[in-house]
Each structure stands twice: as C-alpha cells, then as structure tokens.
C-alpha cells in the first residue's frame, strides 16, 4: 500500500495549508463580526434572524477546526467540518453568481466587490479547497501531529 502511504504523507502539508488558510480566514471575521454579518446579509439567502448567529458562531468553528488540522488532532472530524463549510459557501456563491450579484465573497477580510469580486474563478478556488478537505479526511493517517502521538488512527 505504498500509494496510500505516499498520500498519507502528502496529506500532512495539505492539512497544514488548509489549517493556516482557515485560521487566516476567520481572524477578521472574529475581530469584526458586524462586518462579517453584513457580508452574509449581502448574499440575501439567510433570514434576518439567522444572520447574526451565523456571523458569531461560524468563524470560531473555522478557527477551532483550522487549529485542529494544524495540530493534527481529530483530523478527520476537523476536515469533514471544513468540507461541509466549503460546500455551504459554494452553494451560496453559486446562488449569488446566478443572481448576477456584483459583490465580494467575504471569505477573508471584508473587501469591496471591486477588490475581490465573486466569479467562476472563486467557485473553482472553493472547489479545490473542498477537494483538499476531502483528500485530507480520506488519506490522513495521523503521521505528524497529536493523533499520531496518541496512537489514534481513524482508518
């Protein structure tokens, strides 16, 4: 199973990359929740009662899951959570694109539509990240990180 072993080793830098990516993405959302709430409202998908709860909770889940990926602790659970988030972001993005909204995706620090407009490229980028999350959840064997040190393997 040399291929599986190679994939397991490749999953290590991938999960570090994903972990850093999601931790980086959530920092501004945690620092300025009102701005993230406005980003969510701009998508015009969620009802008003749900916007603030999502704006408050989602970045912290991103942060915890991102740190777990970097630390290599409960990797499969963390990567599945992030894959689920990516799926939700993708659906929201596609709806916004279908409506022809000229807006920023709100994925990182809030930017104007002129700086970072949503496009098919944004969808492609999110699809790649979704694929990487699924790759990690499938192939990670806890080679470097807490799961490995604790002798925990989910396979």
């Amino acid at each position: 199973m040399r291929g599986g072993q190679n994939a397991a080793w490749f999953a290590v830098p991938v999960r570090w990359y994903l972990g850093a990516l999601f931790v980086g993405a959530c920092l501004h959302k945690i620092a300025v929740p009102a701005s993230f709430a406005l980003d969510i409202a701009t998508y015009d998908i969620l009802p008003l009662v749900a916007i603030n709860v999502v704006a408050i909770g989602l970045p912290w889940i991103e942060l915890i899951a991102g740190v777990m990926l970097i630390a290599g602790w409960r990797v499969r659970a963390a990567s599945l959570i992030l894959a689920g988030m990516m799926l939700v972001f993708l659906v929201a993005l596609c709806i916004a694109l279908a409506r022809g909204l000229d807006m920023s995706c709100g994925c990182f620090a809030s930017q104007g539509a002129e700086d970072d407009p949503i496009s098919r490229l944004t969808v492609f980028r999110d699809l790649v990240w979704l694929g990487l999350c699924l790759f990690v959840s499938t192939f990670d064997r806890g080679l470097v990180g807490f799961d490995g040190w604790l002798g925990r393997r989910d396979s």
């Binding site: 945690i30 929740p33 009102a34 709430a37 406005l38 409202a41 701009t42 015009d44 008003l48 009662v49 916007i51 603030n52 709860v53 704006a55 408050i56 909770g57 970045p59 912290w60 889940i61 991103e62 942060l63 915890i64 899951a65 777990m68 409960r74 499969r76 659970a77 963390a78 599945l80 959570i81 022809g100 909204l101 000229d102 807006m103 539509a113 989910d154 396979s155």
Partner: protein, 170 residues
C-alpha cells in the same frame, strides 16, 4: 456484518461525534466571547442590514448614431422604436417596428423571438433603435439588451425619437 465493517462504522460514528463536539464547542466559545466583548452583536438583528449591491448592467456592445447619419435612412437598417405603443401610433420613423422598452421587464423572450424573426425576414444587416431620448434613454438600453441577447450590429440613435422625428419633420 464483518469485523472490518463494524470497525468502519465505529470509526465513522466516532468522527461524527468529534465533529459535533467541535461545532458545539465553537458555538459555546463564540457565544461567550460575543457576550463578553463590548462590540458583540445581538443574537438577532432587529433591523435589516443595508446591503447595496449594484444590479449588473444589461447587454452587449452598441454604437451611437446621429439622427442624420446615412445608416438611419439606409434600407439595410432595421428600425426599432422603443417607446410606448401610444407614442409609436402617434408618430414613428417609416418602416420602424414597435418594441416597447419596459424598465422592469426590458425584453421578454416572446418579444425577442418575434424581433429576431422580423430582422431575419427583412434581410437587414444592422439594427437601429431609438427611444424616448431621455436620460437614461430607453432606446440605448433596448439596443444594449438586444445586443446582449445575441443580435449583432446594433445601434441606437443619439437623442432618441425627438432627434430622429424632428429631423424627419424638417
């Protein structure tokens, strides 16, 4: 059920429990921090967010023509009047057809299909649209809409009907 299947199910269950715990922890931490911080958000927004998303500009490329340009009077031009049917009945350029430009529903599919058929049957090589000549000009917007929906070589008359029909009267 084999021992391997049992282990997989156990592993999946354990992963889902872990994921649920992470989500729960995230929500609890988020609520506590939000409660403590000075700029925390209310859990439910009381007033709608003021989001400003510009609507996309419709259409494709069009060229402006002066009312007196030879392309307007050319027999190869298919003239389209974007004004209301009442205004069209009162006066219009000879040979023009009426496709009323409705700002809320600019060019319904049926109107577009009828227009495309008429243009093809006429053998014209260009489409010249004129509207009310206002700001914004319905003729320019209808021309962009027609161009954006796949009809090529679309023009509009600068100044709209006042310019085109005023010249006609002279």
């Amino acid at each position: 059920m084999s021992a391997v299947d049992g282990t997989r199910i156990q592993s999946l269950r354990s992963t889902l429990v872990d994921a649920a715990l992470v989500v729960l922890t995230g929500i609890v931490v988020a609520l506590v921090v939000n409660f403590i911080r000075a700029d925390g958000l209310p859990l439910v927004a009381h007033t709608p967010y003021l989001t400003l998303v510009p609507c996309p500009e419709p259409g494709g490329p069009v060229e402006a023509l002066d009312a007196g340009s030879p392309e307007v009077a050319s027999p190869r031009s298919f003239l389209v009047d974007a004004r209301s049917d009442i205004q069209f009945d009162q006066q219009h350029l000879p040979g023009a057809v009426n496709v009323h430009y409705d700002w809320l529903d600019p060019l319904p599919e049926t109107a577009l299909a009828g227009l495309a058929r008429s243009i093809a049957a006429s053998g014209s090589t260009r489409v010249v649209v004129y509207g009310d000549g206002g700001r914004p000009d319905s003729g320019e917007y209808l021309a962009k809409e027609i161009s954006g929906r796949g009809i090529k070589n679309v023009h509009f008359i600068r100044g709209g009907a006042p310019a085109a029909l005023g010249r006609e009267e002279r």
